[in-house]
């Protein structure tokens, strides 16, 4: 087995028959479309980083299935040390691309599927775990990239799947056949879905008895029959269609890229089905996915804030204000938040535990805390960046104006900043600020991604151990005897 390079990956896409629509048109060479190209480039970075000698310890790992070196994106962590390395991998990747590498949903889905199918087999005597491992070996051996496919369209959010006007508003098994299952539904906010090799498809919430048709876990190639990817329609995509390269801001890796993925009666062979109707395992499956995804999101948020800092500081320098106390104070606050988000991820990894399957899971409470913190911090950082950058990040002319034979000279003359910095550099940096601070990418990847804040809050409240905390309060103020303290606190793990 060999680790793919970015180029290998690009070539592999050309062989796929993935169906992708953008702005009302079916695109043939989707990997070359201006709206999808940035996603291809950034996934390629994930492949190339595995070949970088400085980073290989973080970006690759030894497979516990094959003993071979694999890309960490398709590896299963079995220790705190491995998970901490992944945090570093992700911060590095986010920081150096200003974007999302798209594979984390897959990695996290692989982790949660591994330990949960193990549990299912242990309880039910099924062979899901083995099927899953066979599939995972195939992924590792061929170094494929995987999309974790979670979020259903959900319709009326106050209703359960079976109560919806349309039963397909949550993806479900519409038929079971000898050769496999047939599924129908649609998944939204699918980051990078169209440029992945495989989809690992989840239920999007814990299912209850009576909702068996929705309790399914399976894998399917992205170009399987019946799968349609409809690309997002955002302003940042619009800029990709009409802007000059300068206008893109983050020129190569650009806008985050999501698709709505339609599953219109897709056939999934049984060997790729890893749960089918076992509702009792969906809670763990979904919770574990969410937990790991939130744990790792700390690091990618941190990396993005690092970029926010870089742009803000560069513009402050170009504008001649980098040494003003209020600028330094804002940079400090951004650095504080980048580090704090990262710290939450590291701590969740450090204080995790190994499941019977061998899969290492991060601490659940800290993972949720970290994601919530990151979502709050990235918004505040963005605002601080805007404050530092100044109005030109929003009002600078088009790249084509700058390159225009007649009016370009005015821009050259009048958008000059401090001496020694070419106007073009300042203009490019404003464009990067425009892109990073205003494009909607942070909404789906950093804020709504891995669940809106309210989901984390519900988790945090649930894990707050209020009985213990009120008991200590009662002892301190003399309602209960102090000897009680010894009885309630036998184990540190009860504290947090």
């Amino acid at each position: 087995m060999t680790l793919k390079t970015g180029e290998d990956y690009k070539r592999s896409l050309a062989k796929m028959k993935t169906v992708v629509y953008v702005r009302g048109e079916k695109v043939d060479r989707f990997y070359d479309h201006p709206c999808l190209k940035p996603a291809v480039e950034i996934v390629a970075v994930g492949y190339d980083l595995a070949h970088n000698p400085h980073h290989a310890s973080c970006t690759t790992a030894v497979s516990h299935l094959t003993g071979e070196i694999v890309n960490r994106f398709v590896n299963v962590a079995t220790s705190a040390e491995e998970l901490i390395k992944r945090e570093k991998q992700i911060r590095l990747a986010s920081f150096t691309t200003g974007g999302c590498l798209y594979q984390c949903t897959g990695t996290d889905a692989i982790h949660a599927a591994a330990c949960t199918t193990y549990d299912a087999d242990a309880a039910l005597g099924t062979d899901y775990y083995q099927r899953f491992n066979e599939w995972l070996k195939y992924i590792q051996t061929n170094d494929l990239c995987v999309n974790g496919v979670i979020t259903d369209v959900k319709g009326d959010r106050s209703k359960r799947p079976t109560e919806q006007v349309n039963p397909d508003l949550f993806l479900r098994v519409v038929e079971k056949r000898k050769d496999g299952i047939i599924v129908r539904g649609a998944k939204v906010h699918q980051s990078g879905a169209a440029v992945m090799h495989e989809h690992l498809v989840y239920p999007c919430q814990a299912m209850r008895q009576g909702e068996e048709q929705y309790a399914t876990l399976f894998a399917i190639p992205a170009d399987a029959k019946g799968i349609i990817h409809i690309h997002q329609g955002t302003s940042a995509d619009a800029m990709r269609l009409v802007g000059d390269e300068m206008d893109f801001g983050n020129i190569k890796y650009g806008a985050s890229s999501t698709q709505m993925t339609i599953f219109d009666n897709v056939v999934v062979p049984w060997e790729r089905v890893f749960l089918c109707g076992e509702t009792q395992f969906t809670r763990d499956l979904v919770e574990r996915f969410g937990r790991i995804h939130r744990c790792v999101s700390c690091s990618c948020t941190s990396g993005w804030i690092d970029d926010f800092i870089g742009v803000a500081q560069a513009l402050a320098e170009y504008n001649g204000v980098a040494n003003l106390p209020h600028i330094k104070d804002k940079i400090t606050q951004m650095t504080f938040m980048s580090g704090r988000a990262f710290a939450c991820g590291i701590a969740a990894a450090a204080l995790g535990y190994k499941t019977p399957s061998g899969v290492y899971l991060p601490d659940r409470l800290l993972s949720n805390i970290g994601k919530l913190d990151g979502a709050l911090s990235i918004n505040e950082s963005r605002q601080l960046g805007i404050d530092i950058a100044g109005g030109l990040m929003a009002t600078a002319p088009w790249g084509k104006d700058y390159k225009h034979p007649e009016i370009g000279k005015y821009i050259e003359e009048f958008l000059q900043g401090v001496e020694g910095v070419p106007t073009e550099h300042r203009l490019r940096m404003f464009k990067l600020a425009h892109h990073l601070y205003t494009s909607s990418g942070i909404v789906e990847t950093k804020i709504q991604g891995s669940g809106p804040s309210q989901v984390q809050k519900v988790n945090i409240y649930h894990l707050a151990n209020l009985a213990l905390k009120t008991k200590v309060a009662r002892i301190l103020c003399g309602i209960e005897a102090e000897e009680e303290m010894g009885n309630v606190l036998k184990d540190f793990s009860e504290i947090a």
Copy 2:
């Protein structure tokens, strides 16, 4: 004299020879260009509101110069009552358009120019105030719209105008001739500049002795020879070029619209020159403009937050979550912030004072406080809106996908929300959320507009009356005798 209608205004633009560039092209019928059309439509609203019987008391006023009814945008307030009406006018206008009506910079520039030229004449025996009033009568009589032209490009911000590598980085008088002055320079962040009739041009900061060439105040038609408008290049503009009408979100009034305005040796006749070299009046001129602009910005910010609330609440209803406590809490917080920003504007107006010229000015401290508050609140509101709206505001497909004969049916089926609300409505509302919550318009109009937050902070510290406050502290803790209290606090106005 008659008040123009929106249609009158549009017809008047067609007669102008304003030079406008967009994305590297000179556009002939600029008022019809997709990137400028929204600005034209929204300015037209300002004209039409003056004819609305429900709102005329707020949107029109009686000119103190002519005794005629004029649009409040070109009127000078001479009392708290008038200024409070203007606050209402602006909140109304912002709220009902989701945008900026572009005339406030002009109105505020008119106010500050009126009282400051009055002061200049009183001190120097000049006739600037009379010249200015003649021009203002012309504006009122013809019901023209005016752009307050303030912000220079400024180059290296740590340097004074004369220290820059290029003396034209602050607009200046390059020559004085018999028939007028010749000016050169460039102004940025000019909201709606290209669709205004007139430019009232300011220095952008207090000028010192030796900087006389920069201390000039004058008026000039927007289509005067030598003036070039270069339109912003933003993602929201890109969407105007390639999107379906649905994709615009705020369909008619759309993206905020700014231009960079080049003054390349423009001739200004003497009767339109209202200051020329009197550096000693530039501090008041600029401070008063900023103060009024900040005072009124409270109301437009409030109106925008009202829109943020409307979209968030509509989506919460379409998603079936409007009654969840955390949603109600967020709506409450947004309403709190909308009302608070408005309150600051009203209070600044209520506690203002009349200058010797008759022009009524708002309280300086509260005006700065209000602007700072609004800038903080609009960002927090935006974030709350994003939290409520959910990921589809960032990941929904293009309008053309929805209207596509084949894949449109999938979107119709799968993006259905609560029963009874058509998918199209939900999709349109997501597009409005995408536009309102992510476009860069709030950056220049609400955050950087009327000066970045640090400018308001400097003003607030300067006005904090720390000597009085420390004296009271010393009396309370026994360092100074209590009889001192009577001596220091003779007048309420010292408190604030």
Copy 3:
């Protein structure tokens, strides 16, 4: 009629038989008790300010009942102008004392009682309004101070009054007799109750049918038979008992002073009963009281923050750090918040309206917004003050150590700050910081006072006019026709 002085007021207390308990003891000369003396001194300030020629326009008013000049604390505002003057009076009083003048609950209770008894009479043909006015004339003529008595002990807050284990957990009429009613219950958080002349007693929430016994409004002297005041037990009170004068911090006006007021079968003559069983008017009564109290709380919060600023700035100067950017930034933030809270009060007053009774009421939404803002801001200000003051505000030795013959010299030597400032001054200022920033006074007067934040939030949500806001959103994104805009927005008052 003559306006009392502070001395007159003190003499009047000596004639009262008010029952007061402090720390388990019944105190005879309650007005001289170290824990109550500060309250007496600060109420005296309210009397003296009416004689101060600089402030009389704010601190006195012309009674609409008698045409005489009265202390504004017992006056009824009938215009925005009058209410704005009261805001100034309160900011002034708070700022110059670092405390609460205790009469606002009375003033606010007078306002709400006046307009609501007017409404009751208009609807029911009763004579409550006349009775009330007779009582008010008595108060004004004798220049008495009045406590607004609102908050019941409430027991289990999830239950209605009649559902409680003890029906007296909300104050109620236990018997109606010829000579009057007999009431029983207890009120908590009664600021300054023990040093007031009169209690004007309210129900503490809107009562429903079946809760008639709780729907009563009446006035009673503070020393009536059956009334017992039990003084708070706080750390700040403890300091009053064992500290040196230096240790008090705010030496004369000191700690805020509350009592729990027991009504143990108190007889109230009919002419002092202003509602008795008319549950349908309790909602307005309570809402109006809360609204006015919140409106005015903006100004007293602002005045307190002014004191927080004074102490912080003084200590920064004594420590030699006043010019550091981060100190100036914190002072700026505190000034911002003081001004913003005040602005909310002014705006609520400016945008109020006159009721049929002639009583002028502030805007309900803005009053609630202002109170919420003030509660948030005073906490943040306190924290900023702590940051500036430094650790010695919490760790400085006792005044008696400083005055000790042997160890006093060490303190003199080692707690010296910048040259030229005596150590004693610095020490006194630290003590004032300790008092202002840590005593629990802000909890009941500024945070929980006039209702906890959640109450204001419920009000704000209720007043948010979401139907209008969602309608505008629907028009902007093309769901409804733009002509609809004209239909929905006929009156500015609908906006806010």
Copy 4:
């Protein structure tokens, strides 16, 4: 060697001749004084926890000097694992006492002294490290508690030590003799100093050439001749003097306890001198102390917030409001902040490194971030606690009123909360809330302790690696070639 119990510790204090003044009086049996007793009790907890079989793995350690089991408070961590255990020890201790165990300054001072004297010896050939280790063995063998003595009184903070009016405003060596050095000065904010066995005395900032007399590090028993402890004078201490036990709130461990420690010509034998004039090592010494102290402060802050949660939740239950959404939301926010602060400490420990001396140091950036986060969070948590607790935490009567034969019955009747909870419990819990949420203890231990926030901010800015971040920004927007990415980011450690 045996580990002391709490009782052993108490007995050991009785043998000391420590000089302590409280409220102007020299106290003989200082360990029994009501203001110092809580400190003695809480230090005793630290000793007893080492005997608790559930916690011994966190609260004890194996000495790297002697191989014996020692209390972790006097141990030197040599790995991430050990430091993570200490984080757990401290969170546990804070949480179960609602206070500070006072030994952390000593532990942290021991760590920094160990590695820095090692470095000094390596560079200069001195024997400080050996002297220090001898002393540390003595401490470990006798299980003594140590106060890290850092903060000088500092006088005018804008001046260096030698520029002060009094050279002793920073502690200094006033004479070097054969038998040792003589030092003079005063240290403030000395948490628990009077109840410690030993003082390990530091310079309080990095010293420069010419400031040799201030560059000294030494150990001295707390009862050495010339040392005087002057106890703080706070309101919480006042309550200890006049309150009933109920009023203390946190009955046993009560108020945090600090002293000002005077060093009036104290003789220190040479074997207890660990630096003397080597200014070049003071920067590392102080920085490392601050870093470790900040790292560990994350956990004690977390433990305190846990207590804040316990009290708030208990009161919410007693008041019948625990299930209201806004209460749950506030509890969630507090839990979020408690966990986040803890996470920062854990991450700083996990990502630390071993110094040549073998001492393990936490990550410097994350340690500073964690302390800053904790200081912000504890204040916000306190405010949330106040919001939940309600006004009675500030206005409840004295314990002696409750126990009073006549009026006690009113309190019993009227302060009843939900059925089934005795009034006394509710009252006790309000007292605990009063103590925890308003006493000044959090000011010196959690906010100003280990340096005010501005110090952490300066550290964070200094460590922000802005050159790397701006370089990445330049590459992303096309100013620099993408190949550059490989050159700049060779090591993950450069990222953070």
